[in-house]
Symmetry: C2
Subunit: 628 residues, 2 copies
């Protein structure tokens, strides 16, 4: 049953490096080069909504990894899908692109349960475990008594597959007889196979420094990350220290006493204290990183890591799209262009794949994309809730009276201007974020199209051999050259389709796919078996990397998602009684066509704009009454 | 057991089209658009040497396919490898790039033997069979009595896998009772599953026209190719017509009588007669092509097809290297650059592969190249025989006194000039043919290098996005753009290697591999798992095609072949007693290094030439006594 997580060969993707190796590597240097964060699973589904932006922000700040705590009472073990900690870990890993470690405890744990959990972790792609004893008491049952049992069990069954961390107690464990016994217990855990130690929280640097030195003295050689809790409020401080049976240093108690009811003052005090503490730890030369107990809050930890300038800086993007950290996807280096505005949806739909396309899309024969109904957790991302409905209505219009109202929203989005209600359109149902920087060069083209009812949802300009280090179009290793074919995807009316179909034969170097919500008719001049590379790069010492393609098979999957977003996302902004808005969106969804165009002549100025201009002009001349 | 030869998807290769489909397609038109040829297996190994150029010439003339006759007495059925007809068919298909049909007869054939033969044909890649009865008499045994038995048997066991042709007798079969019975026998063969008919020879167009009309009248609908034998000598004419129990038209007998002892006059008469006959057939609108019984001779058939202008014109080359016609290799579209001067050797070494690289070289993990000892038939190609020794000695020097004599031969080869003995060096052991047209642009560079002992055996200039229709560098479908990284491969002395190794670090964008005949030391900055694309193309509606790569794994195989050619080919030109020549070549083989360099900066002027100039200059300054 033993196996190792494979280190994939590169081919443009960065390759999988186990967390244990990352730590070992960083421990060679005496400088602190990263931070990591601890989260707990939110107790409500609503709170889960806030977790994703929190995780995204910590990733952007440069967190090397996150840990997710385990709550045996909350986690139903009968159905692996329902274990909340694992769901959160999966979100962090797969949808927030953050390497993730899950806590596991001995409490109520049988060997069978543990094996089932470990298998599920493998399925998800989680390769990091913090093995803890947990709070055992006379009521708990289970096959494991000590964290070292857990470590040994995992190593016995899975070899080096998992990176395993264990907890260390700078102030001895509340239940241990004395400091010496405590350190020896820790050594037992390390000897059982732990890769590194994360300490329990403490408030003074000396405590950590002495602890590390004592550990080293008895032969503990693995990295020891200091666990740091920024004080966020007087209440949380006293509660946590009571639970952890820790004493708060007198100085802190004295300092906080006068401001204990002023939350902001307490938080600022905590930030200052923690920055000071961290600086001492960084100077101690005893740790490669700092681990923060965030209590699921962003402000304090974010302020501290910015002040310390320890964000792990991600290198230049290895591929044009955001690359997953899940080791199972590390060899993935080809994707259809269609989901580029909705990468989470793409990851969700493909996360059951056994093998990811590497080098060529064609190798994945009839890929089985998850259907729209497969959305579990991530339906949340697309859901219009009472809380966010107002924000969406401000962006997308409080009420829609005709199709031009919709065109206007599209135009405001691509132009980056406020809509006529004075609000910035920061996203559309087809674009989770704002326009990519490279879209800037074609922004005025897109505004013009949208103003005239060519509702663009995806596009890229052509690029002919620009340096891979280019700040806008560049990706991949240095000294390479990157290329793109001009691409544009949009919804247009039946009437404009008639114009377009007449014009297309004059552009033999343009590949097109055109269909409606029913998928019938389906016009295309693409070869069904042959994907079209629309983004590729040439690098020293490598094969050509072609990370983005356009193909018929996945377009047919995408068009269902693209059409569904009219009613399942946009229309949800409006109450049922708003018949007009629903009717406008319903009419577009039912009568408009989805079109994508690839101009294969990438070295020359693209013909796509003049081609679409002809559609606009020709449409004006022959316009039917309900179109402008 | 039934299966269909898969029609591979394209990806830059032309895809496999069964011969039956090619004929059906061409039969739609009323014009004759191709010719094909019949060969017999030569009776001596020496004659086999002449067969390869013959086949190559007919391919270049545009023969659509060749047929190879079956000789049950010559073919040992105990060992499939020894069946001469199959060996010849394999050569025609795999090494002469000519689609090939094998004759099979009922004579002495059991069902077991037939199944073994059909399996072997599948292994080789032969998909076309001419099913014949053969000359059955009371002494022959076997499970098949009529060609229709054979056709039915093959269809029963292999479905549509094979294209099957049968013979038709415009003048009724010698053993048939009457014309009607003869035509009904033919219909039986077609009904059993034959795809088309090839007729027995005849001399007058009306015979064929009447025959076709009679066949059509009784419902035979498959194409009927006229079988045409240019008269090549009076003796062969009388012998063949006697064997076929055919009458020669009186007019021919009268015409030939006065010139029967003048072979040239007879041949010219035959050519004129046949051209006239063919013109009538072409005007008859009854056949898509003409099938010539060549008697293994080139002149007459070649003259006729040139006069008729019916060579099947091959389209623009789909890949930069000559593409095999074997359907098993039809999806192949990536090769290492090393064998580009010896494509036959590459095909030989890889013909046991189950799957050929398509799109990416990396997918073929540790490909098992045939070893140098695996050469069977094709050892002939490399063999220096008493007959060709003189030609090679003229090209490569009658005697070699020092290394400069060898340098001189290399220089003459790349310069395209005569060597100092007044002979053109048309090939080198590493290059079966003359320089490729694209090498012209770097010819003067290469001359200079070879003059100074940098003995180039392979190279290509860099190309930055030239039209795929370019007459020199172009390949693949129209409207594409092709690219190349500059590449050069050469042998140089140990002393120059020392210079080169000092210079290389100044050229970080150059990938290199350097080793000697022992493979130790082996210097490289290439990633062992990562091939380097050195030729690629971007085409409308396709993925990027990268048909030529440089990689470490196959270079290690190639270097054994490259070094072996010094002694196993070049040195064989000299008699054993020529100690000097052997010693010069032995010394180069044992002390020189094989180097390949890839300049990754393809958009700019390559640095390879100035880099190697430094090696020459630096070598001059510090030259050891035995080097110039």
């Amino acid at each position: 049953m033993q196996e190792k997580v494979k280190k994939h060969s590169t081919n443009g993707s960065s390759g999988f490096v186990p967390l244990s190796s990352k730590l070992t590597e960083r421990s060679q240097s005496r400088e602190v080069s990263f931070f990591s964060i601890e989260l707990f699973p939110p107790k409500t589904w609503k709170a889960l909504d806030n977790l994703v932006p929190l995780l995204n922000n910590f990733r952007q700040l440069g967190s090397l990894f996150s840990t997710v705590t385990w709550h045996s009472t909350m986690n139903q073990l009968d159905n692996m899908d329902d274990i909340l900690s694992m769901q959160v870990a999966e979100i962090a890993l797969n949808y927030c692109w953050l390497d993730t470690m899950i806590h596991l405890t001995c409490v109520d744990m049988t060997t069978d349960k543990m094996l089932a959990i470990l298998e599920r972790l493998k399925q998800i792609g989680i390769t990091n475990i913090l093995a803890l004893r947990g709070d055992l008491n006379e009521n708990t049952v289970g096959d494991f008594h000590y964290a070292s049992d857990l470590v040994g069990f995992i190593r016995h069954h899975y070899g080096d597959y998992f990176t395993i961390a264990v907890a260390g107690y700078p102030i001895e464990h509340p239940e241990s007889m004395n400091k010496q016994q405590d350190r020896e217990n820790l050594k037992k855990k390390v000897d059982a196979g732990a890769d590194f130690i994360i300490t329990q929280l403490f408030f003074e640097a000396d405590v950590y420094i002495d602890f590390v030195d004592e550990c080293r003295a008895i032969g503990i050689e693995v990295p020891i990350l200091p666990g740091i809790m920024p004080i966020q409020s007087y209440d949380s401080l006293t509660k946590i220290t009571r639970l952890s049976q820790l004493d708060i240093p007198n100085r802190i108690i004295q300092d906080l006493e006068p401001i204990r009811n002023n939350d902001e003052a307490v938080r600022n005090y905590g930030i200052e204290w923690t920055i000071h503490l961290c600086r001492q730890l960084m100077q101690s030369g005893r740790t490669p990183g700092l681990h923060f107990f965030t209590l699921n809050r962003q402000h304090a930890t974010a302020t501290i890591v910015k002040a310390l300038e320890i964000g792990y800086s991600f290198c230049h993007k290895p591929l044009p799209w955001k690359q997953p950290v899940n080791h199972r996807r590390c060899s993935e280096n080809v994707r259809p262009i269609f989901w580029s505005g909705r990468p989470e949806s793409y990851v969700q739909r493909t996360n059951t794949w056994d093998e990811f396309p590497n080098g060529r899309w064609g190798r994945v024969h009839s890929p089985s994309f998850g259907s729209l109904n497969d959305y579990h957790l991530f339906a949340a991302l697309d859901s219009i809730t009472p809380k966010n409905r107002k924000r969406y209505a401000a962006m997308w219009g409080k009420q829609l009276l005709d199709e031009q109202d919709v065109w206007h929203i599209f135009e405001a989005y691509v132009a980056g201007t406020n809509n006529r209600f004075g609000h910035k359109v920061e996203s559309l149902p087809w674009n989770d974020e704002g326009l990519a920087p490279e879209t800037n060069v074609i922004r005025h083209r897109l505004s013009h199209l949208n103003r005239h009812g060519i509702l663009t949802i995806n596009s890229q300009p052509n690029v002919n051999g620009i340096s891979s280090s280019d700040s806008i179009h560049g990706w991949g290793s240095p000294n390479g050259y990157v290329y793109q074919k001009a691409y544009v995807e949009f919804f247009i009316s039946q009437h404009k389709i008639d114009c377009l179909l007449k014009i297309l034969p004059h552009y033999p170097l343009v590949n097109y796919q055109i269909t409606n919500s029913k998928g019938d008719p389906f016009y295309t001049n693409c070869d069904e078996d042959e994907p079209i590379a629309v983004t590729w790069g040439v690098f020293p010492g490598k094969e050509i990397i072609q990370p983005t393609i356009v193909d018929v098979v996945s377009f047919k999957v995408w068009k269902d998602e693209a059409f569904s977003l009219w009613m399942n996302k946009w229309a949800r902004v409006y109450p049922d009684e708003d018949v007009e808005s629903h009717s406008v969106l319903g009419s577009i969804c039912n009568t408009y066509y989805l079109v994508n165009l690839v101009d294969n002549d990438y070295p020359n100025e693209t013909c796509l704009w003049s081609m679409l201009e002809q559609v606009i002009v020709s449409n004006h001349c022959t316009s039917s009454s309900h179109e402008v």
